[in-house]
């Protein structure tokens, strides 16, 4: 269950997509548009998300498969939005479902960590004067990914 969409999503509706009474534990990661400063230190009023959709879908599929094969998961759902988003809006949702919580929690973190550095999405900050500023990748995200090296082949 992988979706790239312009549309907002409802958490309970998405939960129902992966819900089953063989699961006892669900871990969710939800990323939203944070009120932030642009690289030129201006207040942002939203973001614009660009995507290479064919590639992003293939990359998300690969990450999802790795999660399902590396942890005891029953399901893994990934939704990522594209286009113009206002402050506070949902950007990305990961849900992992498992019998027991540790598998769900670890796998969910792996998926969002991987998505941050390996999937063809790009953010722009939208400024008050309707200018767009490219958001740059954080080194921290690359470093954090190293922690999964021993767990994932």
């Amino acid at each position: 269950m992988i979706k790239i969409t312009n549309d907002n999503f409802d958490l309970d509706t998405e939960f129902k997509c992966v819900s089953s009474d063989t699961n006892g534990a669900y871990s969710f990661f939800l990323g939203t548009v944070r009120s932030d400063l642009s690289s030129s230190n201006k207040k942002i009023k939203g973001i614009y998300l660009e995507c290479y959709e064919e590639l992003a879908l293939a990359q998300l599929k690969k990450i999802r498969s790795k999660a399902l094969s590396s942890w005891k998961l029953n399901e893994c759902l990934i939704i990522h939005r594209i286009g113009k988003l206002d402050l506070g809006e949902k950007i990305v949702l990961v849900i992992t479902a498992s019998s027991h919580r540790t598998n769900a929690i670890e796998a969910c973190e792996f998926v969002i960590d991987s998505l941050k550095i390996d999937v063809a999405f790009w953010k722009f900050h939208l400024l008050d004067n309707d200018e767009k500023e490219t958001v740059l990748q954080k080194n921290l995200d690359n470093e954090k990914m190293l922690k999964w090296k021993d767990i994932i082949n």
């Binding site: 998300l49 660009e50 293939a58 990522h80 550095i117 063809a120 790009w122 490219t134 958001v135 990748q137």
Partner: protein, 84 residues
Amino acid sequence: MNITLKYFSWIRVKLKKSHDLIELNQTISFKEFKNYLISKDPVFQEIFDDKSVKYFLNLTEIDDDDQTLNNGDILALLPPVTGG
């Protein structure tokens, strides 16, 4: 033969377009293709000098500059991703 180029993020902004269709008379290596693009527009030099840019040919990352490009290929120029 035709090669489709796809541009994203700051590369798209810099080139002021999201894609290009390049017509060539014969197959060409990725390395030759890069030189060809620089000869047409020097701004490509700056892009190819940026070691953080990745190149995907038909959705697979290029790891060999001598790789041959063929008719109908789609080559994407990708800055470091910032989704999530």
